[in-house]
Amino acid sequence: MRRTCIDKVHSLAKRDERVIFIGSDLSPGLLDDMKNEMPERHFMEGVQEANVIGMAAGLAMEGYVPYVNTIATFITRRCYEQVAVDLCLHDLPVRLIGNGGGAVYAPLGPTHLAIEDIAIMRALPNMTVMAVCDAEEMARFMDCSLDWPKPMYIRLAKGGDQIVSRSELGFSIGKAIPIREARSTAPVAFMSTGVMTTNCLAAADLLEKQGIDASVLHVHTIKPLDEDAVLQSAQGARLIVTVEEGIAIGGFGSAVTDLLTEKRVQPLPQIVRLAMPDAFPEKYGVQNDHFEICGLLPEQIAATVAEAVGASDLAS
């Protein structure tokens, strides 16, 4: 996914002279082809996120479209005021590409985990927040990114992620994708973002074997939220399940529940929010270890849902 994203920056730059790449202190040789081909539009500026964001803003004020790339936690937390003021207040089309969203950098510990990136980026006016689910969807998204008029945060997954997106479902920024349709009128309605869509699809398959019907709405654009799609998916659901690789506070599930309460959806289905806890992770290991710790593996998601559905059935 990262390679696809970065290579796309180069191909976009070939077809549009407004495109600029700015990296911080990334892998040696990253986008060397672009550097050789168009050195005036390829920058590697070192470990100075605050300046890099402001510099990108200055370029965008002059009409350029900078794609800025560094580790997710540093491009969000480290320079939050620059992102807020330089990009969002000025409403500039700068793209922030965050490597290792969520628990990708698990072995490196809590300084490198971007578990609240969605929440803090979502809180900023004018910001668009993206978390696609695989490399193929990344390619489709990047083609759409060039002319998007707003600042944008692009969360990258681990890489080599299972391909679950389908080109026939199309792609449009701000338009959620019903990636698995329900077969009944009162299904479990999964809503997920990023690679959690993959886990939700697998969980839905497991639930099907237990006779529990589930739909999956893939919300690659967390902000602006596709309100119609979320409300339609919620309509008549026996249970809404939001699933995300990040903290619950202010995250994707929060965006969904904000909408449901704001629109005063009645009757409001029962909602389960699966996310990471309000804590800095204490363990290392790999991304999947953290999914397991947080109950985000497919079989865990399925078990949680089956239990919730059972409880719900008993209550009714």
């Binding site: 539009r41 100075q48 605050a50 402001g54 510099m55 200055g58 004020m61 002059e62 350029y64 000025h90």
Partner: protein, 282 residues
């Protein structure tokens, strides 16, 4: 120079003795303070001659075409000194003079910090300190890419350059040898909490900028002729960015406010206090 608005008694700026013109601009600042009953007084007064010389003699700008592509860009990174910028923008005709009367009022375009979407001639929204030099780096790189000879001038405060982001930007400007970029420091030696030497000493300031790859000049920031000499020679060296350290007096022009940290910002300014300021600027 582009067309400018008559400012004092129907005379153009260049016809008016510089001291008289500086007083006139300071009176415009007081007009804003009167309108808003508040404002960063000391921080604005120290900037007057710097901005006066830039707008009168150096910057290529068009008040009737503020987004003219070939223009020079001035970013007031110390956004709290905006009353001085508003005074120049009003004087030059970017905004009507009457706009000053609405400073900080609910529906005004002139806030306590300047916003680029609202005020013609304001290049960037500033107020949070330590952002402007990075904008300037980006703008200077854009001019270089386009082979456009626009010059980028970033005016910073001395307290402002406590921020680490300023030095990130300085390092970056030095690396790219941005000769079309000038950093100006309004070195009035006082920040909000007190004297800079006590709060966060900046010395040796010229050496710092020099070490970051800038060609450095120091000048009396209230000496119009000296400012003209320095600014008209920019870039100081053709292969690197310039830094001009302007030694100024906080609250300059108001004898009772000069060099007094308590005049950094005032709110609920009384009409009597406004009258005293006008009197001092007769």
């Amino acid at each position: 120079m582009e067309t400018r608005v008559d400012s004092v008694d129907g005379k153009t700026a260049t016809d008016v003795p510089s001291e008289e013109r500086s007083k006139y601009l300071r009176r415009l600042i007081v007009r804003g303070l009167e309108g808003g009953e508040r404002g960063h007084i000391g921080s604005s007064m120290s900037l007057v001659e710097i901005l006066q010389v830039l707008y009168d003699d150096v910057l290529r700008v068009r008040p009737d075409e503020p987004k003219w592509r070939e223009r020079d860009r001035l970013i007031l990174s110390k956004g709290h000194g905006c009353l001085a910028l508003y005074a120049l923008l009003a004087d030059k005709g970017f905004i009507p003079l009457e706009t000053l009367d609405g400073f900080c009022r609910r529906d005004s375009i002139l806030g306590g910090h300047p916003e680029f979407q609202k005020v013609p001639g304001v290049e960037a929204s500033t107020g949070a300190l330590g952002h402007g030099l990075s904008y300037g780096v980006g703008m200077a790189l854009a001019a270089r890419i386009e082979k456009r000879d626009s010059r980028i001038v970033v005016v910073m405060g001395d307290g402002e350059i406590n921020e680490g982001s300023v030095w990130e930007a300085a390092m970056c400007a030095g690396k790219h040898k941005l000769a079309n970029l000038t950093a100006i420091i309004d070195y009035n030696k006082i920040q909000s909490a007190g004297f800079t030497r006590d709060i966060q000493d900046l010395e040796p300031l010229a050496d710092k900028w020099s070490a970051f790859g800038f060609a450095v000049a120091e000048v009396d920031g209230h000496d119009v002729a000296a400012l003209r000499d320095v600014f008209n020679l920019l870039p100081i060296q053709s292969d690197r960015p310039s830094a001009v350290i302007c030694h100024t007096i906080k609250g300059k022009g108001l004898s009772f406010a000069e060099n007094d940290p308590t005049w950094h910002h005032k709110s609920r300014i009384s009409s009597e206090s406004i009258a005293e300021m006008y009197e001092a600027l007769e």
